[in-house]
Amino acid sequence: MSTDVTVETLGGERMKLNMGPHHPATHGVLRLMVETDGEIVAKAVPDHGFLHRSIEKIGECVEWPMFVPYTDRIDYVCAMNANLAYCVAVEKLLNTDPATAVQVPLRAECIRIIVAELNRISSHLVAVGAMSMDLGAYTPFLHGIAQRETVNDIFEKLCGQRLTYNFVTIGGVAFDLHKGAEAEITAFLDAFEKEMIRFNKLITANTIFRDRCAGVAAISAADAVAYGLVGPNLRGSGVDWDIRRDEPYGIYDRLAVRVPVGQGFAGRNGRVGDCYDRFVVRLLEINESVRLVREALKMLPAPVEKKTDATGGYQADVAKQLRKPPKGEVRVRTEAPRGEMGYVIVSDGSKTPYRVRCRTGSFTACSIFQKLMRGIFMADIVTVIGSFDIVVPEIDR
C-alpha cells in the first residue's frame, strides 16, 4: 500500500541524506542523494560513476576477441549473457560481408543457450535474493546463494571460472561440454525446481513481503517504455516484449520462449508494474529458463571430433576474419537478465574495434529513479532499488 502523504503536503524543511556509495542496499556503489521529510522521501537524485571503469574505451584499445573478458566485467552476475551479447554482435558484423561470414555450429548455439539460461537463473537468484534481503529477510537470500553455487560448479567444470567466464567466444564457445554435463545440468534442474517452490513459499508468498512491495513504485506501461526500461522491469509493467522471442538471436527462434508479464500479482493492494510484479516476473522467468535449458539439452547435437564442424562442432574458426573484419557498424540487441544488452559496434576494418558501445538495462533503469522516488517511504527506496535488480558496473561500465 503506498503512502497517503504526497510530496505536496510535506513540510518545507527537508533533511538531506546521503545514501551511498557505500550503503548496504545500493547493491554496490550507487549513490542516492535523498531529501526527506521524516520518513517520506521528497526527492532522490542518483549519482553514478563510482565504478566507471572505462570499459568502452578499453574496447577501442584491444583486439576483437580480447574484449570478451571485459564483457564479463560489464555484468559479472550474468557474464555468460554478456559474453554472448558481444559475440553475437561481432558475428553479425562479420556476417554483413559474405567474405568474412561466420557460421556458428549448431552444437555451440545450443551450448550458448544452455549456459545463458543457466546464468539467467543464477542472476535472477541474486536479484530476488538481494531484494528479499533488502526487505529484511536474510534467509531466502542465502538459500538462493546455495543454489547459485551449483550453477557455479557446472560453469567451473565447463570453463574453469566461477564468475567471469570468458566462455562464449566469437564463432562459438571456448570449450565443448565436459563429459556428463548433460546429466549434471538435468540433475541440478530437477533439484532446483523443488528448491524454488520452498523459496517461494518462504518469501514470495509471505504476506509481509507482499504488502511491502504491493503498489510501491508502480510504473505504467507508457512510462516504462519512455524511460527505456527493458527486460523484467519492462515486462513487470505489463509490456509483452522479449528480445529472445521477438527479435531472436542464436537459436532462440526454435525454442518458443514464453514471456511472463506483470499482472498485479500482489492481489488486492497490488498494481500492474509495482515492485512485486517485477519480483514475480523474475521468478516466473526462472521457471521459463529451466524449461529452455531442458529444451536446448534435447536439441543438442552429438559432439564430433572436428571442432569447426557445422553441426557437432563447438567453435567456428574466425581468427582470419577478425584480422580484417568488414568496415561499418552494427547494432545488436540481446536479452540479458537485466534486460536488453545491446551492442553498437563500429569497425574501421582493422583488428581492433573502432568503437564498442554497450547499452545495458541497469543504466536506463536508473533514469526512472528520480521520478519514482517521490512521496515514498525511506524504506521503499531499498524496495525500489532491489526490484530493479541494479548491478552497478552495468550502469557505470
Partner: protein
C-alpha cells in the same frame, strides 16, 4: 512496597533483626543483581550465539564452530605457570587438552560456538573507543547505559523463584512496563547524540514504535490483571497453580482463548518493543545502515546488543510469568517444595530460564524467517490490529467472567474464586462451551471472513508455490 523474603534475610543478616534502610538497600541490590548477573546476563550473552547458531541452521550453514576455548585455556595456563618458559606452558596446555574429557568438552564448546562469544567479547574490549566529532558527547556516551538500565531494571520485579525476587511491588506488572521504558530513552539519545541522520531516523522510529506498542503490552497485561485480580507478579504466578499434577492446565494461557490470544499479542508487541525483525525499524540494516547504533563501536555497541537480548529475555520472562505459570513446573509443585530451599530456588529459576529461553529462540526463529515491516505498516499493525484485538480480548474476558458468574459456578479458572459464591472448581460441559467453544468458533468465522476479503492468491503465485 514490600521486598522479597531474600532481601529481608540479607538485610537482617547485615544489621540485625530490625534492619536499617541501607541494609535493606544492600539486600535489594543483591537480590536484584544476583538473578540479573547469574541468569539474565549470561543468557543475554549466549543469546547472540543462539541467534547465530539458529540462523545458521535455518540457512544450511554451520555458524561459528571453529573458535575453541584454547585462547582462554592458554590464558589460564600462562597465568598459572608464568614461571615456566613459553614452550613448557604450551606443552602443559597440550597435556591439559589431551586429558580425557577436557578435549571433548573443549570441542563441544567449540562446535557450540560458545568460544566465539568469548572472542567477540574480548575483541570488543580491545577496540578503540570512538566518540565521533559532531556528536553530542554526553548524550552519546550515556545512551548505552540507559538502554542497559532499561533492560535490566524490570528484572527486579520478575519473580525468578518463590523467594528470589527483589521487589514485591503490589503493582509489579505496571513497574515492569514502566521500567522497561528507559530503553527507548536510551535509543532516542543514541539516535540524537550520534549526530548522524541515519541514527536520528532510527531513534525516531524507535520512539514512535516503542511508545505505540506499549499500549497493546499494557492492555495484554491488563487482561491478566483482570483475570487474576492482582498486579503483583508473585501473586499472579501463585494464582496459576491449580494444585494438581497436571498443573500446566492452571496456567493462564489455558484458562480462556482470550487469555491465549492476549499471550500471543503480548509476545508480538514485546517483539516490537525490543526492536526485533519483523519490527526492527530502528536498526533496519538495509535502510538505515545500522540505525540508532550506526556510530557506536566496541563496548558501547556491545551494550546495545546486550540490552537488546536482555529485553528479549524480559519479554520471554514476562510472557512466562503472566501466562505460562512463571517459575512453576508444568507437572505440579510438591516434588519441588519437598526439596531444600536453595535447591528449590535453583530449580524454579531454571524452569523460568527454560521458559524464557524458548521464547528467545522463538524470537530468533521469527527474525530469520520474516522480512521487515515498513514503518507505516508497523504503526498500522499496532493501532488497527493489535490494539483492537487487545480490547476485544479484554471485553471477551470480562464477558466470560460475567457469564461464568451468572451461570452459577460454571467456570474453569481460579479467578472465579474471587467472585463471591464461586469458590469451587467445576469443569463441566457448559463451562467449556462458554470459555472455549463459543469464542473459538466466533474467531474461526472472523478469520474465514478476513481471508475471503483479503482475496485469492494470484494463479501465477499458486504455480510458483507448487500449486498449493
Amino acid at each position: 512496597m514490600e521486598f522479597g523474603p531474600a532481601v529481608n534475610t540479607i538485610a537482617t543478616w547485615i544489621s540485625g533483626p530490625d534492619p536499617s534502610w541501607w541494609a535493606v538497600g544492600i539486600g535489594l541490590v543483591a537480590v536484584w543483581v544476583i538473578p540479573v548477573l547469574a541468569i539474565v546476563f549470561p543468557v543475554a550473552a549466549v543469546g547472540q550465539i543462539i541467534e547465530r547458531k539458529v540462523a545458521a541452521a535455518m540457512q544450511r550453514r554451520h555458524g561459528p564452530n571453529t573458535v575453541g576455548m584454547d585462547g582462554i585455556l592458554r590464558l589460564v595456563v600462562r597465568l598459572a605457570f608464568f614461571f615456566l618458559p613459553r614452550a613448557a606452558q604450551d606443552r602443559i596446555q597440550a597435556r591439559i587438552t589431551a586429558l580425557p574429557g577436557v578435549g571433548w568438552t573443549l570441542g563441544l564448546l567449540q562446535r557450540s560456538g560458545l568460544g566465539q562469544l568469548a572472542a567477540d567479547g574480548v575483541k570488543m574490549i580491545g577496540k578503540e573507543d570512538i566518540v565521533p566529532a559532531g556528536t553530542d558527547g554526553l548524550v552519546f556516551r550515556a545512551a548505552p547505559y540507559l538502554a542497559l538500565v532499561g533492560a535490566f531494571l524490570p528484572f527486579a520485579a520478575i519473580p525468578f523463584a518463590q523467594n528470589l525476587v527483589a521487589l514485591e511491588v503490589p503493582v509489579g506488572a505496571l513497574y515492569v512496563v514502566a521500567a522497561s521504558g528507559f530503553t527507548v530513552v536510551g535509543l532516542l539519545m543514541a539516535g540524537w547524540g550520534s549526530g548522524n541522520k541515519f541514527s536520528l531516523l532510527g531513534g525516531m522510529r524507535a520512539v514512535a514504535q516503542v511508545v505505540s506498542y506499549e499500549i497493546p503490552v499494557g492492555l495484554a497485561i491488563a487482561g491478566v490483571v483482570l483475570w487474576c485480580g492482582t498486579m503483583d507478579l508473585h501473586q499472579i504466578v501463585a494464582h496459576q497453580y491449580n494444585g494438581q499434577w497436571y498443573s500446566f492446565l492452571g496456567w493462564n494461557i489455558f484458562q480462556s482463548p482470550f487469555l491465549a490470544l492476549l499471550a500471543c499479542l503480548l509476545f508480538f508487541a514485546g517483539l516490537a518493543e525490543c526492536q526485533r525483525t519483523p519490527f526492527d525499524m530502528a536498526e533496519a540494516e538495509s535502510e538505515l545502515v545500522s540505525g540508532f547504533n550506526t556510530e557506536y563501536s566496541g563496548l558501547r555497541w556491545g551494550m546495545f546488543a546486550m540490552a537488546e537480548y536482555s529485553e528479549m529475555i524480559l519479554v520471554g520472562a514476562l510472557v512466562s510469568t503472566l501466562f505460562l505459570g512463571g517459575y512453576q513446573s508444568p507437572i505440579g509443585e510438591p516434588w519441588i517444595m519437598s526439596l531444600p530451599g536453595w535447591l528449590e530456588t535453583i530449580i524454579h529459576a531454571g524452569i523460568l530460564l527454560v521458559k524464557f529461553t524458548l521464547g528467545v529462540v522463538l524470537m530468533v526463529w521469527i527474525r530469520w524467517t520474516l522480512p521487515r515491516f515498513r514503518v507505516d505498516q508497523v504503526m498500522r499493525l499496532c493501532w488497527l490490529t493489535l490494539v483492537p484485538l487487545c480490547l476485544l480480548s479484554l471485553f471477551g474476558l470480562a464477558l466470560t467472567m460475567l457469564l461464568g458468574g451468572l451461570a452459577g459456578g460454571v467456570h474453569t479458572g481460579p479467578a472465579y474464586g474471587r467472585i463471591p459464591g464461586m469458590q469451587h472448581i467445576n469443569l463441566d460441559a457448559l463451562g467449556w462451551l462458554v470459555t472455549w467453544v463459543v469464542p473459538v468458533g466466533f474467531a474461526a468465522v472472523l478469520v474465514a471472513v478476513a481471508r475471503r476479503r483479503h482475496g485469492q492468491m494470484h494463479p501465477a503465485l499458486k504455480q510458483l508455490t507448487g500449486g498449493a
